[in-house]
């Protein structure tokens, strides 16, 4: 019974796969050799076995490029270069040249000292002469030492030469060995993906040759000669263009800031107006009132734990005398985030509607976020001067992208069918936006608001650099004078501001999520 339905061993009857045709196609030239070698590599269980590719051993990086193994090319050329530099140093490098030069200098100084000593002795200044002689003696010692070191270094040349030659031989062996293994892997990849480079390509090989020749020559020149030509060590163009273009930009900036002064001042004034309002609320209002309101607000939106934390943070701030500075910072932050939200959400809505606007806006948004924040402080100073309004503007540049992006994202993620349904019932565009899209996009928009506020906070601190004051200023001063204690205290105050704001908003955000 058991025999009749016994398992057939499928592995007993396996035909061998013939790879020779495809290897020949892959390798182009030398197909038979590679078929043989690949079989050998494939038959080894670990994937590594002894094989030797003479072409690769002799030509190294050139073989690698011609065969399209660029990774191997870099490894080979880097390794070879290290030892070639050694070889170069050993053969024609002036090893110990700097030491000999030093010894020579010492010698001159020694002679000078001796002359002085003699002069002193002639003048009968025995004491002075002795001290000069002593110095001369020291110099002589140093000279001998430098000479000895120079000689050792020069003698090291031979040793370098030997090491370099042994190293090169080892590298060649390595190159010969690894070649077929790496090439077999390339072949396996090529089987699944025909865009992988195959065959032997002379033009690419030639390119590799040019690169190699160029790189080797220049590198050898740079590292083995005592005084390499300047063209190699430094880009041969100084800062003439830099200064010329810079002053040209300066000129246009000045022109613009003069001609549009009314515009910039208008913007400044507008921001100042809002800021003053917020500052009156936060800084002007008696601190017990502000503190109480903040804690109650934290409690109402995020629960008792956050409220306790908020209270502790506020007490920390108050006790260390940071109250007014913190409130000024928060006022700055509040104004910046308010403006970001006020500008960002409509822009986000627009971008969600118009693909063209979005296509044009996206690179700008990317730029705003990628450019280091300090860079756009510069034009802002040029146009708006220093102080708080420019600080707010800089924060806005940094804080706007998230809110715009996430508003757009949120609106785009609103299910099409829901919008369609609303439209089918005859809702106007405005109604659809208000009743359907915005509510559904709220989680995303709130996430954007949160990110914007935190971005603004980190920027408000940086804005201290352009005289926007606040807590950031304290950290900056501490940085300049390495006053760790003060810096940390101010830093922690900033940290507390950030955490409190974050927690409160997230608490609020969770509320809306639950409600929705």
């Amino acid at each position: 019974m058991a025999e009749s339905i016994g398992t057939v061993e499928i592995l007993d009857v396996i035909p061998e796969v013939d790879i020779s045709d495809s290897v020949k196609e892959f390798a182009g030239t030398n197909g038979n050799y590679y078929t043989r070698e690949f079989k050998k590599v494939q038959s080894s269980k670990s994937g590594y076995c002894w094989t030797f590719n003479i072409g690769s051993a002799v030509f190294g990086p050139l073989w690698a490029t011609a065969r399209g193994l660029w990774g191997l090319f870099w490894v080979f050329s880097l390794l070879e270069m290290v030892f070639l530099v050694m070889l170069g140093l050993g053969v024609w490098g002036e090893l110990g040249a700097d030491k000999f030069a030093r010894a020579e200098r010492m010698q001159t100084n020694y002679e000078k000292m001796m002359t002085r000593a003699e002069t002193a002795r002639e003048q009968g200044d025995e004491e002075g002469a002795a001290s000069f002689e002593k110095r001369a003696e020291n110099l002589a010692k140093a000279r001998d030492k430098a000479t000895a070191e120079g000689e050792i270094a020069a003698a090291g040349g031979t040793r370098l030469l030997v090491i370099a030659i042994i190293g090169l031989v080892l590298i060649k062996i390595f190159e010969g060995w690894i070649a077929n293994i790496a090439y077999e892997r390339q072949y396996s990849r090529w089987r699944g993906d025909r865009t992988v480079r195959s065959g032997l390509s002379w033009p690419i090989g030639l390119l590799g040759f040019v690169i190699i020749a160029f790189v080797y020559v220049v590198t050898l020149l740079r590292f083995t000669t005592a005084n390499p030509p300047d063209v190699i060590t430094e880009f041969p163009i100084g800062n003439t263009y830099y200064l010329a273009i810079a002053s040209w930009i300066d000129y246009w900036f000045d022109l613009a800031s003069q001609n549009f002064a009314f515009l910039f001042q208008g913007v400044s004034r507008g921001i100042r107006l809002i800021l003053d309002g917020v500052e009156t609320l936060l800084v002007g209002t008696p601190w017990p009132v502000v503190m109480a309101v903040i804690i109650i607000f934290a409690y109402r939106s995020a629960g008792p734990r956050v409220a306790v934390f908020t209270a502790a943070a506020l007490i920390y701030i108050a006790v260390l005398g940071y109250w007014q500075k913190s409130m000024a910072t928060v006022a700055l932050l509040g104004t910046a985030s308010f403006l970001c939200v006020a500008i960002g959400i409509p822009l986000g809505v627009w971008f969600a509607r118009s693909q063209r606007a979005f296509n044009m806006g996206r690179p700008v948004l990317d730029l705003m976020q990628t450019l280091p924040s300090f860079v756009y402080l510069i034009p802002i100073i040029a146009f708006f001067g220093t102080g708080k309004p420019p600080g707010i503007l800089a924060s806005m540049v940094f804080g706007l992208p998230p809110i715009i992006r996430l508003t757009t994202l949120g609106l785009r993620q609103v299910p099409k069918d829901v919008v369609e349904a609303a439209r089918a019932f005859g809702a106007t565009n405005a109604q659809i936006l208000r009743n359907v899209e915005i509510p559904l996009a709220t989680p995303s928009i709130m996430a954007g608001v949160n990110q914007t506020i935190l971005m603004c906070l980190s920027m408000v601190v940086i804005a201290a650099l352009i005289d926007a004051k606040g807590l950031g200023y304290d950290v900056l001063v501490a940085l300049q004078y390495a006053a760790k204690g003060q810096g940390i205290l101010a830093g922690v105050a900033i940290l507390f501001c950030a955490i409190v704001i974050d927690r409160v908003i997230q608490g609020k955000f969770k509320d809306t999520e639950k409600g929705g």
Binding site: Y241, I245, I249, P372
Partner: protein, 512 residues
């Protein structure tokens, strides 16, 4: 005909009786609210439904009825009105001008005395002093006049305050019921929303009002309020003492952990040196060729052209060395971020517990303004390139960790199960299945990390890292707009170059 064939479904609809639920919602005075809320719902119009309680009690009514947002809104608005009122009634309106006038007169008086003395000694300055004194006196007179004018405008403030106050109450009385209806509708869906009339809420509101109103009124209407109200009355000693204590602690820790800190510095330094040898010390033509060929091979010919153009920009502006130093900085930081971040990400994807602990830390690393952690870094590691890299790592590591963890969590469990079913070891599953499938997410993380590192280049120069960041910083200090912008663009180009090369590599893998 048509009417017959299509009976109107909206005819003959039975009316919903909401009175019970409104009664439950409103608690006290329910008859009134049943009446008004039903009416609002029926007509949808803003009828002339005055809420007398709201009109009379204002914010207190809002609080008692659980409309907290409204409470705050009207409390603040009414405070503004009351402050105007207070200024009108007892505020010393011309006080600041008066004080100014007084000062001016005093200075004028002093100058006159000086002039007198000078006149006696026959000094020439006597005349000019006298002239200045005269001008000052004139200014003082003007200030006094202004002060009187300001003081006489008290009735303006009074009227503005009263009008504002009345308008506010009018608005509240008029709209209270409509807002309360909205609250009712929300309450129907979510019974946790405050309902009814609560004595407790009313008490809280009253306490808040009692504290808030007098204090604020006092602060804004009195010309020189007591000091402790304006700023927190604390001894400066707390600040100095804690600053000193911290400083001491830092010094001691830095001393005690010298070995560790030096070790970290040495480790980072060796990586930096190796990269510097490759990019900065190597001849620039070699580096340029290297970068362009890498871009071509790894990404595409377009990226190679972009790289070449960027390098030309950098070279011709003479920013070559600074750029390479910056790239080394970013490269080293990104290297460490990946080296540390990916294993951490793997760990966090495995252990829910570890991730729960680490998530707030990651949040914090991204939320804290970099300025804050520059200080401890300086304290422990001094200034220079290594601390710059450390600051960059703190800022730029979270995305790699997060996205590695995310990517690994998103690997379909079925595929992993299949690997287990074929007897694969954990290590093999990680390397052969999970990591390759998570590569897109991980590469996104790497990408973000590189970009974030570059945006830290300038901040790192604040603590002594050289390179393009320093150029920007110097430009900022001397408001050298052109230089700053050119250097800034160079940073941008470096960032895009690295980004495109890494992305190109990844996109190729995707295409396969």
């Amino acid at each position: 005909m048509a009417e017959n064939s299509q009976p109107d479904v909206t005819k003959d609809i039975p009316k919903i009786d909401l009175s019970d639920s409104i009664r439950e919602f409103s608690g006290q005075n329910s008859d009134y609210y049943v009446d008004t809320l039903s009416q609002i719902q029926a007509t949808g119009e803003n009828l002339n439904l005055w809420n007398k309680a709201a009109l009379l009690c204002g914010p207190a009514w809002c609080a008692a009825r659980g409309l907290w947002n409204l409470f705050w809104l009207f409390t603040i608005a009414e405070l503004v009105a009351l402050v105007q009122l207070g200024k009108g009634i007892w505020g010393d309106l011309g006080a600041s001008k008066m004080a100014e006038a007084e000062q001016l007169t005093k200075r004028a008086h002093d100058l006159r005395l000086e002039a007198g003395v000078a006149g006696v000694t026959g000094d020439e300055s006597a005349e000019s002093s006298a002239e200045i004194a005269m001008n000052l006196e004139k200014a003082a007179e003007l200030a006094i006049q202004q002060a009187q004018a300001a003081a006489s405008t008290w009735w303006l403030y009074l009227i503005a305050g009263i009008v504002l106050y009345v308008v506010l109450r009018y608005v509240l009385g008029k709209f209270a019921n409509r807002l309360y209806e909205l609250q009712y509708s929300a309450w129907r869906l979510n019974k946790k929303i405050a309902s009814g009339f609560s004595m407790q809420r009313l008490t809280i509101a009253l306490v808040i009002l009692v504290i808030l109103v007098p204090l604020t009124l006092y602060r804004f209407t009195v010309s020189s309020p007591v000091e402790w109200l304006v700023d927190v009355p604390v001894d400066n000693a707390y600040y100095t003492n804690s600053a000193n204590a911290l400083e001491g602690w830092f010094d001691r820790t830095a001393e005690a952990g010298k070995g560790v800190f030096d070790g970290i510095t040495a480790g980072a330094q060796s990586v930096l040196d190796a990269m510097e040898l490759l990019l900065v010390d190597a001849p620039w033509p070699v580096v340029a060729v290297f970068l362009v060929v890498i871009a071509w091979r790894v990404a595409s010919i377009r990226v190679a052209i972009f790289t070449a153009a960027s390098l030309c920009y950098i070279g011709f502006l003479g920013l070559w060395e600074a750029s390479m130093v910056s790239i080394v900085l970013v490269g080293a930081a990104a290297f460490f971020c990946i080296l540390i971040g990916i294993p951490l990400g793997i760990w966090f994807s495995r252990s829910e517990k570890a991730y729960a602990v680490a998530r707030p830390v990651l949040d914090l690393m991204q939320t804290i303004p970099p300025f804050v952690y520059l200080i401890p870094i300086i304290a422990f590691f001094g200034t220079g390139r290594v601390p710059g890299i450390l600051a960059t790592i703190i800022f730029a590591m979270p995305p790699v960790i997060r996205l590695t963890a995310l990517g690994l969590r998103q690997v379909p469990s079925t595929v992993v199960e299949a690997a287990v079913a074929f007897g694969a070891t954990k290590w093999r599953i990680l390397v052969g299945v999970e990591l390759p499938l998570a590569t897109p997410a991980i590469m996104t993380g790497v990408n973000q990390t590189i970009l974030m590192s570059l945006s830290m280049v300038v901040i790192a120069s604040l603590i002594g890292a050289k390179g393009l960041g320093q150029e920007v910083l110097t430009a900022l200090q001397y408001v050298a707009k052109g230089q700053g912008i050119l250097a800034g663009l160079a940073i941008l180009f470096c960032a895009m170059m690295l980004d495109r090369i890494v992305q190109g590599r990844f996109q190729r893998q995707e295409d396969q």
